[in-house]
């Protein structure tokens, strides 16, 4: 009843990798967070921040009989403005609550007063539009002839900005959780100890994580980028090869970081705390939802050194600007450094029992 010759499916590395897949796909929550959630988030953000056709700016004109009616008529000739006569109190109210961008008060002595909040960009724009419309109506003519061409380029919208950020965030989350959680869970259940009591190669055990992460990565990246491309036309201007290379290196780096965080922890609570401690600053600083350049210059060296910042910058440069290898090199170097340092430390600190 003994057997010696076996097929490739009975190679330990294949079996270990199959275990990784089974454990992942038999956990519906994990599948949701890794594959479905990023797509839903992209859909939500893409719809909420979609670019809308320009809406006319609302203007309140304070009732002054004939004078105010003339102002409303003059403003009505501009397609960009929607003017409405209001009593003084109601106009002040509308301005305060943001229902109108500016209030226009014709003076009895002739001339006009603009009331607006100069800290609101739309109010400043409204002032220029209103002034332009009224001056033209009063007979001003332009000295320079201008023509307009309106441009709506994919790549400059919010959804274009946020998709590479979500992709980076997802690579970080699945790398850290995928390794950290599984390893600590196996240590807690004494399964790690049981495994090293067999002739199993420890290298193959770790390699099974790398192999399974890399194949899942293709689905993960494909689902998110594919959805963003089809639903919102988010551009992928760089080569697919460079996009995949960035994702691959990032997945390895975050996997190594996950291994490092899991190298000693004995409880799920312990490793969860560590993960959140590591991920939270990156969610905020690394330019997932808004640009990292909004933070003060003093913080920039720290922010630029974070792995997720490098990943997001590289993904944006490749997808949105079609950057080549030379442009991506500094970011790739930062990611590779995180991979090397995390992996070296993890191997040194790792406890099997």
């Amino acid at each position: 009843m003994t057997s010696e010759r076996r097929g490739w499916r009975d190679h330990p590395l294949v079996q270990l990798t199959l275990v990784r897949y089974r454990e992942f796909f038999r956990e519906p929550e994990a599948v949701f967070w890794v594959f479905v959630f990023p797509v839903l988030l992209t859909a939500g953000l893409g719809i909420a921040f979609r670019n809308q056709a320009p809406v006319p700016t609302r203007v309140a004109v304070i009732e002054r009989g004939e004078a105010s009616r003339a102002v409303v008529e003059a403003l009505g000739r501009s397609g960009d403005l929607l003017a409405q006569e209001l009593p003084e109190a109601a106009a002040t109210d509308a301005l305060r609550t943001g229902k109108v961008a500016i209030a226009v008060a014709p003076r009895e002595a002739g001339g006009i007063e603009y009331r607006f909040d100069d800290e609101r960009p739309e109010s400043r724009a409204a002032r220029l539009l209103v002034d332009d419309a009224l001056q033209r109506a009063a007979g001003r003519s332009d000295v320079v002839r201008v023509t307009e061409r309106r441009v709506h380029e994919p790549g400059s919208r919010y959804v274009d900005f946020v998709v590479p950020g979500l992709l980076g965030m997802n690579l970080m989350g699945s790398g850290l959780w995928g390794l950290g959680f599984t390893i600590v869970d196996a240590r807690r259940k004494k399964l790690l100890k049981r495994l090293i009591a067999t002739p199993m190669s420890r290298t193959q055990f770790l390699a099974s994580f790398v192999l399974s992460r890399l194949t899942l990565l293709i689905i993960e990246v494909g689902a998110l980028v594919g959805f963003a491309l089809l639903a919102f036309g988010v551009p992928v201007r760089g080569s697919l090869l460079s996009l995949l290379a960035i994702c691959l290196l990032s997945a390895l780096a975050f996997g190594a970081l996950g291994l490092l965080l899991a190298s000693r922890a004995r409880t799920i609570e312990g490793v969860s705390g560590l993960m959140n401690l590591v991920m939270l600053p990156m969610w905020i600083f690394s330019g997932v939802f808004f640009s990292a350049s909004r933070f003060p210059d003093a913080l920039q060296p720290f922010i630029q050194a974070l792995p997720l910042t490098a990943v997001n910058d590289a993904l944006r440069a490749s997808m949105l600007e079609g950057a080549g290898w030379a442009r991506l090199a500094p970011e790739l170097a930062i990611i590779a450094a995180w991979l090397a340092v995390s992996f070296t430390l993890a191997v040194r600190l790792f406890r099997w029992r």
């Binding site: 009843m1 003994t2 057997s3 010696e4 076996r6 009975d10 190679h11 330990p12 294949v14 079996q15 270990l16 199959l18 275990v19 089974r22 454990e23 038999r26 956990e27 196996a186 259940k189 004494k190 399964l191 100890k193 049981r194 090293i196 009591a197 067999t198 002739p199 199993m200 190669s201 029992r353």
Partner: protein, 314 residues
């Protein structure tokens, strides 16, 4: 098998010591298992059994002492040595999302030679559960799965750490039958347990371990015979009753008498002489008997005799 494995004992341990931060777990322990023997380490929780077996399994480093497994030391060609051992740890939880078949196949893949996955599953009688997830198995079925994973490499030496702890009597008996069948195939086994029935039924020789040392060694029969009194009479008295202990020891045929938790335990050589004499003595002292039991002396009584404590403090 290799020449060294055939000529040297399956397991040889001398002067083993292991200290953790604040406790000495193993304190100068010696063992030698003979070929084809099932050897039991019997002792209460915390006696150092698990530490000892995990040092033998190459999972824990000893502070001192010599360990030869199949004639080899840990630290040289470990993977080759591991392929000759079958190991069942205390409280391993296999991945709940895998099926029985997938788990056995995974473990089988680590060994170059051994029985087929189907054969191992049949050995531990889990054929019907082959496609079931580990999460749905009962405690006894999980222990049989652990045994299957220990057998996949056709081991020369099998380590079983508390294989039946926490199981119901029926599952325990089922597991004993499996271990007996493995024994019949002539392989050596090192087993730890705190169940004396288990040691008595399965083990050819038993080492009683307490505070990290072997305090008695022999076949279960020899150990019981060492008590020089083969039966134990246990009795309890009515509330407030007092007994003249000296007079009790003076009864003909009584080898020892001791009181613990309100119950007297008296060891005697011949029941048919000692019990009537004991009852007559209690009658003479005019104390009321509320309970009376007798049993043949067991390893448990040996342990009580040697340590003054019970194996299981329940």
């Amino acid at each position: 098998m290799t020449g060294t494995a055939a000529s040297s004992p399956p397991l040889f341990v001398r002067g083993l010591r292991k200290r953790y931060a604040d406790v000495v777990a193993v304190d100068g322990l010696d063992l030698e298992i003979r070929a084809g023997e099932c050897f039991g380490l019997l002792g209460p929780n915390g006696a150092g059994k698990t530490t000892t077996i995990e040092i033998c399994e190459g999972l824990t480093e000893p502070d001192e002492g010599e360990v030869l497994v199949l004639g080899r030391r840990w630290g040289e060609r470990d993977r080759e040595l591991r392929s000759l051992l079958g190991i069942s740890l205390q409280e391993t939880q296999f991945s709940e999302k895998l099926t029985v078949g997938e788990t056995v196949r995974l473990f089988r893949s680590f060994y170059r030679r051994g029985p087929t996955v189907e054969a191992v599953i049949a050995t531990v009688q889990l054929q019907e559960k082959r496609g079931a997830r580990v999460g749905q198995l009962s405690g006894g079925q999980r222990q049989r799965l652990a045994l299957a994973c220990a057998l996949v490499g056709d081991p020369t030496l099998l380590f079983l750490d508390e294989p039946t702890t926490g199981l119901d009597p029926q599952s325990r008996r089922q597991l004993w039958e499996l271990i007996e069948r493995f024994k019949a195939a002539g392989r050596a086994i090192l087993l730890t347990t705190h169940y004396m029935e288990e040691a008595e039924r399965l083990c050819d020789r038993v080492a009683i371990v307490d505070h990290g040392r072997v305090i008695a060694l022999g076949t279960p029969g020899e150990l019981v015979a060492s008590l020089s009194a083969e039966h134990v009479v246990e009795f309890a008295l009515g509330q407030g009753a007092r007994v003249d202990e000296g007079a009790l020891r003076g009864v003909a045929g009584v080898a020892a008498a001791a009181r613990r938790d309100g119950t007297w335990r008296v060891r005697v050589a011949e029941l048919h002489r000692a019990v009537p004499a004991l009852i007559a003595e209690l009658h003479r002292q005019d104390v009321q008997l509320t309970e009376l039991r007798t049993h043949s002396a067991t390893l448990e009584d040996v342990f009580v005799e040697l340590t003054g404590r019970q194996l299981r403090d329940e």
